[in-house]
């Protein structure tokens, strides 16, 4: 244990040199900006930094890139909340309650809870990375194909928390997402359902439907009524901070989201997006007023935002201890490590302890920097939406278009996003929730691939999903998750039938 703190002190010693502090700051700033801009994700940015950082001291280079990575997670919530544009894939859920909050004039509170939640999560996850990395990594690799399939299935049950009033409409939206997920090269190496369109070989990058359904859909919806009725002007009321009540409501979701996000992040291939969806579903389940979700519940912002940030720390666990990247960005970071002549994996902590501990120390420092950087920015951001609605709608369209194009640099994607925009508009009119589609699209590939792997291993037998203890336990959670609302109301009705008070007994 003394070793441990000696290491950390050494790490801080390296990380707080003026040069490294500057790099951490630049990383955080760039990360926040690209997080704010939709389409340009942390994957692309870190990748572009690789050639630039060549020749730099490895520690400084990694501090810079790690700064970008978690900075992007901070920034991703901004456009989700203000303009209903998910800036990062992991910020899709943030739109669900963040944007309604902004419409109610509570953008400041939404942004603040996201920023503080990210800070809490970043700190907890870094501590988790520091204390638990080796033991967690050995648990993570025990997740095989059967476990991943069950986990993705559990992810799908979150759909019930994402929908509106109609379960059927949620399921239809989910099925569309699953179908969309089958487009592109399958495990056998052949493209499916791409109808000869080369741009669809690698499937539909889900940022396109995300921006299409949410941002374009919303913009079209606004534009449709712009002449007919007085549009709701986003008024910014109150402070760019949380009230005591909001702070109280956010605390538990921050903590739950942090732990959940970290654990999901540790599993290679799960990642920030799934973590944020899980957290949202969990918060809605735990809430005493689930009906407020989707209409501006602050817990629906606090939890997922903490979760997606914590997953960054989690994703570092398999990367640093096993050399296995758990997300797109960590895959690029792996490349960066190798460029610096460092091999992440079992030997890294022994061979290059200074780099690792400096990186961990910089994650603490970066978190503080991001909080200091982001809280004043909130004041600035909330002013941005204080413009005429027509102007705002136009700005949303421009920003979304740039975001879609920036993803792959293809005009085809613009048409696709526009198509999804029309779909989003119609869905909005018919009261279909778009979030289940996005969730299903994210989960489909991993679910399908792991199903195929698992059944190949078991020679086609489905018992592999229940005979493996971890997988079986997750499946039990699936069942509980699906039926918990019914069980709950059944219990409540039985109690009230017996004349007992339904709530407030504990």
């Amino acid at each position: 244990m003394t070793d441990f703190f000696a290491n950390l002190v050494t790490g801080f010693g390296i990380a707080v040199t003026p040069m490294n502090l500057v790099y951490a700051f630049i990383g955080c700033l760039v990360g926040t900006l690209i997080g704010v801009l939709p389409g340009i994700g942390s994957v692309t940015t870190v990748a572009l930094l690789i050639p630039i950082t060549f020749g730099m001291n490895p520690t400084s280079g990694l501090i810079l890139m790690a700064g970008v990575y978690y900075g992007a997670m901070y920034g991703g919530s901004t456009t989700s909340i203000l303009a209903n544009i998910p800036g990062e894939s992991s910020a899709v859920v943030t739109t669900l309650d963040g944007h309604p909050m902004a419409k109610q004039g509570r953008a400041g509170a939404a942004l603040a809870t996201a920023a503080i939640g990210s800070f809490v999560a970043g700190t907890i996850a870094t501590a988790g990375l520091m204390f638990l990395a080796p033991s967690l990594a050995s648990v993570a690799i025990r997740f095989g194909p059967a476990e991943y399939f069950s986990l993705m299935l559990l992810g799908l049950t979150a759909v019930s928390a994402l929908g509106g009033r109609s379960v059927v409409k949620s399921l239809i939206s989910m099925c569309l997402g699953l179908l969309l997920g089958t487009v592109g090269l399958d495990m056998g190496g052949f493209p499916r359902f791409n109808f000869g369109v080369v741009e669809l070989y690698e499937g539909v990058d889900f940022i396109i439907p995300a921006i299409g359904l949410f941002a374009f859909g919303e913009a079209l919806d606004q534009a449709a009524v712009v002449r007919r009725k007085q549009m709701t002007h986003f008024e910014f009321k109150g402070r760019a901070w949380l009230t005591r009540e909001e702070f109280r409501k956010s605390t538990a979701p921050w903590l739950r989201g942090s732990v959940l996000g970290f654990l999901v992040g540790v599993l290679p291939g799960a990642g920030a997006t799934i973590a944020s969806f899980f957290s949202y579903a969990l918060e809605r389940r735990m809430s005493r007023h689930p009906e407020e979700f989707g209409k501006g519940a602050i817990e629906g912002v606090a939890g997922p935002e903490a979760a997606n940030n914590a997953s960054v720390g989690g994703a570092m666990v398999p990367l640093l201890t096993l050399g296995i990247p758990g997300s797109g960005t960590t895959a690029i970071l792996l490349g960066a490590f190798m460029m610096f002549g460092l091999q992440p994996g079992p030997l890294l902590f022994q061979k290059n302890p200074d780099v690792i501990w400096a990186l961990i120390a910089s994650m603490y420092i970066g978190n503080v920097m991001l909080l200091v950087l982001n809280l004043p920015l909130i004041r600035l951001f909330v002013k941005l939406i204080d413009v005429r609605p027509a102007v705002l709608v136009a700005a949303v369209l421009v920003l979304s278009t740039v975001g879609v194009y920036a993803t792959n640099g293809r005009t085809f994607d613009l048409w696709l996003a526009l198509g999804f925009g029309v779909l989003g508009y119609l869905a909005r009119r018919a009261d279909f929730p778009p979030a289940p589609l996005i969730l299903a699209l994210v989960l489909e590939r991993s679910m399908e691939d792991n199903f195929r792997r698992a059944t190949t291993l078991s020679d086609g037998s489905l018992t592999i999903f229940v005979s493996r203890p971890i997988s079986a336990a997750i499946l039990v959670l699936c069942v509980l998750s699906l039926f918990s609302p019914y069980l709950q109301s059944w219990f409540l009705s039985r109690r009230s039938a017996r004349g007992e008070p339904a709530i407030g007994r504990s």
Binding site: T44, A47, R142, F190, V198, P268, Q343, G345, G409
Partner: protein, 332 residues
């Protein structure tokens, strides 16, 4: 529009030809040709991908040793497992001398599988820069003794050992198919589990699969950490890193398998430009920076300029056989 483009490019070709003749007569046949302006190196996948890394590594070595005097931009054109970039080379850059493409095995496999209308025959092969070799490994505590033992078990019961690798038609998948197919096994009967390349190591360490084939670079650290037992490598000789590990060939299976990475030019690339790039890449692979980068990424030295086109033809036959034997590719 297309016609004007074509005629203007034809006109440009004409001008180039005239200039070439003039220069050749003025200076003799060994005239120094060099690109006139900015040169683009295309990569058919995003930043950080294998192609992108290859291009930037080569550029790095060139810049560090001042091999080039003019600016080069790496242009990422992701899509269709590289097919989009290849199509752009064929359709839009015909006859040009200022754009080349970094490529590898998918150039061959995409064409065979029909996922790209164009293959190496539609382009101008320039150089093979480096190669990747593969390692067959089992977990450290496995009771499989060596490569021969593994093959013997599979021969007895092809389903007795689950094997992990990438999904077809990726390079490490092809390596596995080449090795086990070369051993006389019916690869369609194997219990082969395809993963995203980077996840193979985790699956093997977690005990979900009993053997795996992946690049030497990706498995090296786990072998060094004592978590994996290396059985055999697929290169022509033993790996510098693992002198004690026999090659597949030494172990009685007559197979050498490597992925290659290199550069190709657009169709009808001028001869001077071809010679120029071959010479420049030849200089690059001799630099210390390139040596260092190669070691870092575990790329084997495999530079080849003349004969690269013959190598590609050979590679094309090899991959056709592998894909057919694996039952992935059924057409024709």
């Amino acid at each position: 529009m297309r016609n004007t483009l074509r005629s203007s490019s034809r006109a440009a070709l004409g001008v180039v030809a005239v200039l070439a003749v003039l220069v050749a007569t003025a200076l003799g046949a060994s005239a120094e040709w060099a690109p006139k302006g900015n040169v683009s190196w295309m990569a058919g996948a995003g930043p950080g991908s294998g192609w992108d890394t290859t291009a930037r590594a080569a550029l790095q070595a060139m810049t560090a040793h001042k091999v080039l005097k003019h600016p080069v931009t790496v242009v990422n054109k992701p899509g269709g497992a590289g097919a989009i970039a290849v199509a752009e080379m064929v359709n839009q850059h015909k006859g040009k001398d200022d754009v080349i493409l970094v490529t590898s095995l998918p150039l061959i496999t995409n064409k065979i599988m029909g996922t790209s209308p164009y293959g190496y025959k539609n382009l101008t092969p320039i150089v093979r820069l480096a190669a990747t070799h593969y390692l067959v490994a089992v977990p450290a505590n496995s009771d499989i003794k060596d490569f021969k033992d593994l093959i013997a078990r599979l021969r007895k019961d092809p389903k007795s050992v689950s094997i992990g690798g990438s999904t077809p038609p990726a390079d490490d998948w092809a390596a596995a198919m080449a090795v086990f197919g070369g051993a006389g096994l019916d690869v369609t009967k194997l219990k082969f589990i395809g993963y995203d390349g980077a996840q193979v190591a985790g699956a093997l360490l977690g005990g979900h699969i009993q053997a795996a084939v992946n690049t030497v670079g990706e498995f090296a650290q786990h072998v060094e950490a004592g978590k994996m037992k290396p059985l055999a490598t697929t290169g022509p000789e033993r790996e510098p890193k693992f002198q004690s590990v026999p090659t597949v060939k030494e172990s009685g299976v007559d197979v050498v398998f490597m992925n290659w990475r290199g550069f190709v030019g657009p169709p009808g690339m001028p001869k001077e430009a071809l010679a120029y790039w071959q010479q420049k890449f030849g200089e690059t692979v001799k630099t210390q920076t390139w040596e260092d980068l190669r070691a870092r990424y575990s790329w084997a030295d495999a530079f080849m300029a003349d004969g690269f086109d013959r190598f590609l033809a050979e590679n094309d036959r090899l991959m056709s056989d592998i894909l057919k034997n694996a039952g992935v590719f059924k057409k024709k």
